[in-house]
Symmetry: C2
Amino acid sequence: MKFQKNKKYLNRIYSGDAVKVMQQFPDGSVDLIVTSPPYADRRKKQYGGPPPEEYVEWFLPFSREFYRILKPKGSVVLNIKENAIRGERHTYVLELIIAMRKEGWLWVEDYIWHKKNAFPGKWSNRFRDAWEHCLHFTKRKDFNMYQDSVKVKIGDWADGRLKSLGVNDKKRSMSKTNSGFGRQLTNWVGKRKVYPSNVLHLSTISANKNHCAVFPETLPAWFIKLFTRKGNVVLDPFIGSGTTAIAAIKAKRNFIGVDFSKLYSKIANSAVKETIKSIQKTRK
Amino acid sequence: MKFQKNKKYLNRIYSGDAVKVMQQFPDGSVDLIVTSPPYADRRKKQYGGPPPEEYVEWFLPFSREFYRILKPKGSVVLNIKENAIRGERHTYVLELIIAMRKEGWLWVEDYIWHKKNAFPGKWSNRFRDAWEHCLHFTKRKDFNMYQDSVKVKIGDWADGRLKSLGVNDKKRSMSKTNSGFGRQLTNWVGKRKVYPSNVLHLSTISANKNHCAVFPETLPAWFIKLFTRKGNVVLDPFIGSGTTAIAAIKAKRNFIGVDFSKLYSKIANSAVKETIKSIQKTRK
DNA sequence: GTTCCGCATGAATCGATAG
DNA sequence: ACTATCGATTCATGCGGAA
């Protein structure tokens, strides 16, 4: 496999070590890296997920290649969660954030994925784990963010609240706490959509029945809409069953997928082909 | 103020430095410490909330007294959030977790408080911040946890939310959550109550009240039910307007409250008296 | 009593401007 | 160059009074 100038390297699933695959891509060629790296001690067979003590050292070679191939205004989103080990949450995620900042990354935000239908189970010392991090890293403060593309329907409160406005609603009313905060409700009349928060409520249903995806398609789809535009390049170095690539295709972005396992890159590949086929069918 | 053997030191609000107040309590005398310490650079007037770089050093003297006065099977719950500084989330919360583990604490869990009515605002690089940590620390693996006391009705579980919320709230949530969890639902048929997850959905309240609370009463109430029994001792060393004490009283636990500010300890005190009075009225 | 409606409030954050 | 202050932006809730 060689890097080709005519961009034939795009929209493909590679199998192999993601570091080596990424080394073949030029500097600043990717707009968004969104991925769910193997968690410590999980999915050992597939990726050789390292023990938690070695997790940071294991991950840094990946993050260094991320830094090189990411465009200056691009973003990295890591879906990850500290698992419970010997009765405690392990600290490798915290240590990873600190280590990546030392290497030059900006840790802009910690989006929370609230898993509405988290896996059931019962333990004596904890409840079901219903959330995961989506860590947002960038190279620069002025990264690309297209907030309008992920607006959501305004809350039901608006229907009642905005029907009739009082006197104070029509003028700007300043908060008393010196926060400098005020409101002008006239701005809200007719508004149907608002910006979301940093908490994402998504279910863990995976479209692919044969092979469970670690995250639902809606998760990468959301970040793809938020941080890229049509025709941009989205990379997932641990693509698994292909979810990120499918989300990218549906959003008309270019994708690059890598998976260590030959089996999984095959699965991802056929999932990709399936998606393209069904899109072409719809167009007819 | 002196420590007295007949336990007159319980069910009181103290004003002063919490470290010094705690030094007067005996070893292993508290079942639960649940508190919201001042965040970095916030509430400077009230507590002298330290700059983020000094946060860990500032907090460790408190955590050491916590360790001494906490019963072996007791718990500590810290409600805290890293704020955004110069375009990044600051790492002082991560560093605090790592530092407390080095001092012997077990970091058992990171409960997430999802703030449904997060502070509004718009920025080019992030959305509204709608969640906070509730860090759970213990001294031992076999700490006390009374899971049955916080079971929720099966319908409420669908959205992962707690009971005791407004009516509007339930209407809204039901309409939104029709997707996703149908598959698992069959497992739960016949069960009336189920265990919650580690994500708590609560609104901040403070509208039209004399004093503002940093967290809603339901937050400490939940952890009090989960980690203590009737007659146990609950401490909040940064009690503010008294929310934790009120939750403890209503749950028939003993409380100790401390606040650096004389004004706030007065406010907390009168809130406590008000609560006791209204409970006695109900009994008649 | 119950529902409806007015309204004030909140651990916010960034960029520009001033000292 | 570095810090301090200021203005701009924004969503959902519960309380309390009215219908």
